[in-house]
């Protein structure tokens, strides 16, 4: 994941924070167009997918997904295209070898579909953890980690971890486990955190370049808060 140092300045974030503090509606279009911090921009972008579908043609979306000025614009356009193309429903029809090949080439959606198709084999925490340990593919590690996050998170009948355990894991060595922890932390925070939008944005600023999966966890919470 490329990162632009300018994002660290977070100037736009401060403006957004001010909006929030004043109790004004969050301007998601403004955030996604101007925000340089990837996770904040993405959180806004993830709330604009349906709007992008309504506002742009496929050609425009394709262009935005490739050349959008911010991470959030690219993500919103990419997810809009994904949805228009049938989303995971279309991908799970492909055979696993093809999915694996696409995943190896860096296609995260293909990796997600591969893990989705194999979820019957991934019913135990230990099995998913072992699969993460065995894979050399980042996309598969992320897909498996996202699944594992469901086991680690609140409400899970097996494998649930405490928030403290997850905070350790999210900065650990394994990409898959970090993603799992991030997924579960987001759930914990959505259900139990009283952090405000400015506080989450500030938290992202503090970790974005150092602990990307922890920032990802905050991004999940921010996406939710922006949606309210």
């Amino acid at each position: 994941m490329k990162r632009n140092c300018l994002r660290a300045l977070g100037l736009t974030s401060c403006v957004v924070a001010l909006f929030s503090l004043l109790g004004m509606a969050v301007d998601l279009g403004g955030i996604v167009a101007n925000e340089l911090i990837e996770e904040i921009s993405n959180a806004a972008g993830l709330n604009l997918i349906d709007q992008y579908i309504a506002d742009y043609t496929v050609e425009e979306l394709t262009d935005l997904a490739a050349n959008g000025l911010t991470s959030g614009i690219k993500l919103a356009a990419d997810r809009a295209l994904f949805k228009l193309n049938g989303g995971l429903l279309a991908l799970i029809e492909m055979d696993n070898e093809a999915l694996l090949a696409l995943a190896a080439a860096g296609d995260q959606d293909a990796a997600d579909a591969y893990v989705f198709n194999g979820k019957g084999d991934y019913k135990k925490v230990e099995v998913v953890e072992a699969a993460i340990a065995a894979t050399e593919s980042d996309t598969l590690a992320i897909a498996l980690g996202t699944l594992l996050g469901g086991f680690y998170g609140p409400g899970s009948p097996v494998g649930q971890k405490t928030e403290a355990e997850l905070l350790d894991l999210v900065v650990g060595d394994s990409l898959g486990l970090r993603v799992a922890a991030a997924t579960a932390l987001t759930t914990y925070w959505i259900l139990g955190s009283d952090l405000t939008i400015p506080q989450v944005e500030a938290a992202i600023l503090g970790v974005t370049l150092v602990y990307p999966e922890k920032a990802l966890a905050y991004q999940g919470l921010l996406t939710y808060l922006y949606s309210l």
């Binding site: 429903l89 991934y122 998170g153 009948p157």
Partner: protein, 607 residues
């Protein structure tokens, strides 16, 4: 999405035109669900508002709209929403409650049940519902051998006769039985069908139509405006492989305490999808409102619920049915072999040892992904007659459970006590004579059962019992079950509300009394008492009295350890937060499609 909403609105408008405008005012005899009323099982539910469309998914198309010729749940899932019976099992408590009948009386000799129908309630086309519809459905459809009716067997009384249904007046019918049989009340909850629409298709009433015409009535290709029902919804549109739309019945007779006519939703749309994965993805995408989860879905959906605004409800209430292994106490009896093994198997301390070696916790965790509960009783946990509900966190009753906790040390002690010890030092326990004891447990090719058996065998071997496990095909397994030729067998049985429905299994002469068929000729005191309790429980209309009999029945069977119960899966489902009252579901149904959700009580909170 907008198009779908517009379509749904149009359908509702169409249905109003076809059905009429509904009651001018709430009928005096309407059924009122005590939604939000303290002290009732509905007290934690909310009063709703009318409007909106509730969406589900199903992996099967219906095969018709004729309730009494349907043999598959893909059809009855819809017909059960179009039709109602005289009585119903309450959605939540499962107790028998009035439905189309507002009350009933049972004669002093318990042989005659008199039902009083609600007056002033109408079919969806505005025609009054009367005793003629009840007689038509029972006498001319269910008991009519020209009709390929699925529910006839359920009406058969223990003496191989059927109840006699007679009309007293337009709103009173009687069912007369030749023998006392309380479960008959349950069976009399059959769906009533409209005589004015269907009598013309029954040969005995209209000789102009050929025999069997009724079986070809209300098929998928019919004009749906001809469908008439008395339930909350009526099918108004069907697109094969795409969807079924049901619209509110304007003459449904149920209301909430605020006087709002049910159902709350204007319509229910069931999307027909190719498989459960598609259902799951549609739920994730917000295209359907409710989804019955599989264990493998939980980890995917749990983290998304909070973000997307849906709940993943993981019930701690086990589903209906039982899962068990049996110890064949008649092993070798027919062949004149295995006398000592048989004697050991018939020693209850041996069976207790085996029961103490069932690691139900590991089964629940490893086989069911945590979504199951320990089981001890032959009666399904959701049954109102289940006597150990507190075992699952009640308390609804006192602790009546006879639970054999996982205790290998206790098992070792019991085996030592009866002389099943390792006589020759080979590491395996032997029969008291010193002859080797080997056990083979069989099940069919079912991943859940196979995994459960592996856990059992591991634990038994760990205490020195030389147990092995073998998968056999289902028919072979059933042959062994009925032929008393197996050793240990691992299987399951379906279950229902009424314990007496298990008489074919637990009565000493039952056709599935597979752990000891010889009990029919040589019953011991416990067998005799179990037989007696089954009869006593079914032979009284006093439910408290029946519960008392069935409690003792469950305790005796649990101690007898013929069928040794293991674990039973729970059920779980997901629903979006905006579906009011969806947190509560009907425990004897699976919400994977539509039958488990209390659809007529759900409402759209966004309105």
């Amino acid at each position: 999405m907008k198009n779908a909403l517009i379509l749904a609105s149009l359908l509702v408008l169409t249905s109003l035109v076809v059905f009429g405008q509904g009651y001018d005012e709430q009928p005096a005899d309407s059924l009122v669900y005590p939604i939000g009323v303290a002290g009732t099982v509905y007290e934690d539910m909310e009063l709703g508002v009318r409007g909106g469309t509730l969406t589900y998914a199903s992996i099967e198309d219906p095969k018709g709209w004729n309730n009494h010729t349907a043999h598959e749940t893909s059809t009855t899932a819809f017909t059960n929403r179009m039709l109602r019976g005289l009585v119903r099992n309450d959605h939540i408590s499962l107790a028998i409650e009035p439905d189309l009948a507002k009350s009933w009386e049972i004669s002093d000799d318990s042989l005659v049940i008199t039902f009083h129908l609600r007056e002033g309630i109408l079919w969806s086309d505005g025609t009054p519902i009367t005793a003629d519809d009840v007689l038509f459905t029972f006498n001319d459809v269910i008991l009519n051998t020209d009709v390929d009716c699925n529910s006839r067997d359920g009406m058969l009384l223990p003496d191989d006769t059927y109840p006699v249904c007679e009309k007293v007046d337009d709103y009173t019918v009687t069912f007369t039985m030749s023998t006392i049989f309380r479960p008959a009340l349950n069976q009399l909850g059959f769906n009533i069908m409209p005589k004015h629409k269907l009598a013309q298709y029954v040969h005995k009433l209209n000789p102009a139509v050929p025999v069997g015409t009724f079986n070809e009535t209300w098929t998928l290709d019919m004009d749906l405006t001809e469908l008439v029902g008395c339930g909350p919804f009526i099918v108004t549109d069907y697109q094969p492989n795409v969807s079924v739309t049901m619209s509110r019945n304007p003459y449904y007779y149920a209301y909430d305490p605020a006087g709002t006519q049910l159902p709350y939703y204007d319509s229910e749309v069931t999307a027909i999808v190719t498989n459960s994965d598609v259902s799951m993805l549609k739920f994730r995408n917000g295209e359907i409102d409710v989804y019955g989860l599989r264990a493998e879905d939980i980890a995917i959906l749990l983290p998304e619920g909070a973000r997307k605004g849906f709940q993943v409800l993981i019930s701690d209430a086990p589903a209906f049915g039982t899962t068990w292994f049996l110890v064949n106490m008649d092993i070798g009896l027919a062949e004149g072999t295995d006398a000592e093994k048989r004697e050991v198997y018939r020693n209850v301390k041996f069976r207790e040892a085996m029961a103490h070696c069932i690691d139900k916790e590991t089964m629940v965790r490893n086989v069911f992904n945590g979504l199951a509960g320990a089981q001890w009783s032959p009666v399904s946990v959701p049954s109102p007659f289940y006597a150990g509900r507190d075992y699952y966190g009640g308390p609804i009753t006192e602790n009546n459970a006879v639970a054999f906790e996982y205790d290998p040390a206790k098992a070792v002690s019991l085996l030592d006590e009866i002389g099943v010890v390792d006589a020759d030092g080979d590491g395996w326990r032997d029969l008291p004579s010193g002859d080797p004891l080997t056990i083979e447990i069989n099940t069919n090719d079912n991943t859940i059962r196979t995994a459960s058996c592996l856990i059992l065998v591991d634990d038994w071997r760990a205490i020195g019992v030389n147990a092995t496990f073998q998968v056999v095909d289902f028919n072979t397994l059933v042959d062994r079950l009925f032929g008393a030729s197996g050793d240990f067998i691992y299987l399951g049985l379906t279950g229902g509300n009424e314990p007496n429905s298990g008489a074919n299994v637990y009565n000493s002469c039952g056709s599935l009394h597979a752990y000891r068929y010889s009990a029919c000729d040589e019953p011991d005191e416990i067998d005799l008492r179990i037989d007696e309790l089954l009869g006593l429980g079914a032979g009284t209309f006093d439910l408290d009295e029946a519960f008392g009999y069935y409690t003792e029945y469950q305790q005796l069977l649990s101690r007898q350890l013929g069928y040794i119960y293991t674990v039973v899966p729970t059920f779980q489902y997901g629903y979006y937060d905006y579906v009011g009252n969806a947190f509560k579901s009907q425990p004897d149904r699976t919400p994977s499609r539509y039958t488990g959700l209390l659809g007529e009580l759900c409402f759209d909170k966004r309105l």
